[in-house]
């Protein structure tokens, strides 16, 4: 084969045609795992909280649905999800605060803080998620947390 300048340039340029889906899947997978863990913690926190007169059972159920949906997306990438926390000892700051809050205004304030933190987390995720279907799922879940916040705001009066 005769070595030409054109041949060298074309061969070198073709390296940049290597696909990057594997790298994007890893990044999306890591983001999904983080979101699933947050939903699992929120679910447990609502179930543990003193929520008399508040729709905490409904919110817990929806957080669990969020976790399942995101887990389906993660499995489609061939990845495994995190294990749910066994008890309140495995909760992060905001869910722990809700789980330990006294009934009434304290529980309501803790729930609003938890939903606001979840919305922040999803905002960070939608900024960078690569796969369109995962991005859309995350967006619908983020919007759902907005509705949770609206319901809690109305409960506060």
């Amino acid at each position: 084969m005769k070595l030409t300048r054109r041949g060298v340039l074309l061969a070198g340029a073709s390296i940049w045609l290597l696909p990057a889906p594997a790298r994007a899947d890893d990044a999306d997978g890591a983001i999904l795992r983080g979101l699933i863990a947050r939903e699992q913690c929120a679910d447990l926190a609502y179930r543990s909280a003193a929520g008399a007169g508040l729709p905490f059972a409904i919110l817990a159920g929806q957080e669990a649905e969020h976790a399942r949906s995101l887990h389906t997306e993660l499995q489609a990438l061939g990845l495994k999800g995190p294990r749910p926390p066994r008890d309140e000892g495995g909760l992060d700051a905001e869910p722990a605060r809700l789980a330990q809050a006294a009934a009434g205004a304290e529980a309501l304030a803790a729930a609003r803080a938890l939903e606001a933190a979840l919305i922040d987390a999803y905002d960070g995720a939608v900024r960078v998620l690569a796969e369109p279907a995962i991005l859309r799922t995350a967006a619908t879940v983020m919007a759902s947390h907005g509705q949770h916040l609206a319901v809690l705001r109305r409960a506060q009066g």
């Binding site: 070595l3 045609l17 619908t140 947390h145 319901v151």
Partner: protein
């Protein structure tokens, strides 16, 4: 050192990559400015709707939607969109009509998101999507319906 073997390997890799890269066609991607302009038209319709509805909740949501329009216009200009005023979607005059428009906005945001590349633009979209979902919940409550009908706020009536 450039060798014939190295160049052939690079060429084969590149050719192989071309074959691997031939998968299903990608989703058609709208221009960000076009996607935002469609949302702006919906938002202008929402503003006219809430201006026609009495009540404290309508006033509160109207304030929110006006801020959305301000930020959208700025984003459209940054994305190189037309400075021509967007034609508003037809306004409604009832809470039921407002609910339908808010759901259309939620669905439109979700559809538009993948076309919005820059992280800041995605964050703008996600924030307004979340706010519109909240408006949907508020309107459902005002209409005496379940404000949390579904775990996934995608704009579809449940």
């Amino acid at each position: 050192m450039i060798t014939r073997r190295g160049l052939l390997a690079a060429g084969v890799t590149g050719g192989g990559a071309l074959l691997v890269g031939c998968g299903p066609p990608e989703e058609p991607v709208a221009r960000p400015a076009d996607a935002l302009a469609r949302l702006l038209a919906l938002k202008l319709g929402l503003i006219a709707t809430y201006e026609a509805i009495d009540g404290r909740d309508a006033r509160r949501i109207l304030t929110s939607e006006r801020e959305h329009v301000r930020r959208l216009r700025s984003a459209i200009a940054t994305a190189g969109g037309s400075r021509r005023l967007a034609r508003a979607v037809a306004a409604e005059s009832t809470l039921e009509g407002a609910l339908a428009l808010e759901r259309r906005a939620v669905a439109a945001w979700i559809e538009a998101l993948p076309a919005l590349g820059p992280p800041a633009l995605r964050s703008l979209a996600a924030g307004q999507l979340t706010a519109d979902a909240q408006h949907e919940s508020d309107l459902l409550a005002l209409l005496g319906r379940d404000p949390l009908p579904d775990a996934f706020a995608d704009g579809r009536p449940v």
